[in-house]
Symmetry: C2
Subunit: 177 residues, 2 copies
């Protein structure tokens, strides 16, 4: 079975963005030649699932090539039908069904790149196998929470922690079987 | 200046209790002869600040001797006046003023033992100097959040991380000067 992973940065108080999708807190831990393990992580991923708003944010701020480099299938979860763009396809069906089908198919890792709505929908369906959470040393005080209220309880197994010079702490957990 | 510290356990999704003050998730990491550094921490504390609801919870569930062992001053923050109980006094004035006065007085460390309302009031006033957060490997999905919305942004300095056999990860930060 393929594994679905989160790889995401949050403030110590649990926000992945300040209000208005402000991601400037990530600059606090930006450092030349330090990608916090992203390249290593993404090398074993061949499928990305993202929410529509996150996709449009990345499309606007970074460009579609961030996802569509020809190496990966990208599923954008949305409520409206849209034509495929290269390996990027828009999916407006049942999320659990999509993920379950992806997991039993052949392939490498599956990566959910947010946003919070999609992550919480996946958690509600107990579909996330691994969480890699990078804690940025700041209290943001307000914004978009990584974890929303009203999900089922879920036991985790602690895997590892890595610390970095910038004060970032990367916690890794897997779903307890 | 004396230091005000938090020393608290939370789930990975940021809850310090499930609904109805249910602390049973702490049992997941209970282990004989393992106090996760509490004895060492409390040994350098001579003053405790707690919210009224937390005080009454401890009074009911553990007994008042948990706080009043004759070794520490205890301030219970409440909105109503109540007579002193040994070294436990009830304080219904301005919290920032209380903490500022305690910090400039002679003494050892000051420890805030919750609840979330008091912690967030202290954070709003930038009065917490050190945070020791023990992350229990579970997603609770709902309950009382350690960090509430609508606080000012606050920069932190990462101090250390300790891991334990039970999967508990203890993160230590201090306020950035």
């Amino acid at each position: 079975m393929r594994k679905l992973s989160l790889f995401i940065a949050t403030s110590l108080d649990g926000y992945i963005a300040k209000p208005n999708d402000d991601l400037s807190f990530l600059k606090l831990v930006e450092k030349e030649d330090e990608d916090y393990g992203y390249a290593e992580f993404i090398a074993i991923v061949d499928t990305i699932i993202i929410g529509r708003k996150t996709f449009e944010y990345v499309q606007r701020e970074i460009g579609i090539s961030h996802y569509d480099n020809g190496e990966r299938d990208v599923y954008v979860v949305t409520s409206t039908e849209r034509p495929r763009l290269g390996r990027i396809q828009f999916y407006n069906g049942d999320i659990a069904r999509l993920v379950e089908n992806l997991k039993i198919a052949e392939g490498k890792g599956i990566y959910c790149d947010g946003g919070a709505d999609l992550i919480n929908e996946l958690l509600k369906n107990d579909l996330i196998d691994e969480l890699v959470i990078s804690v940025v040393p700041v209290l943001l005080g307000n914004g978009t929470r990584l974890f929303k209220d009203t999900r089922p309880e879920q036991m985790l197994e602690f895997v590892s922690v890595k610390t970095f010079e910038t004060g970032l702490v990367q916690l890794k957990y897997q779903r307890k079987k």
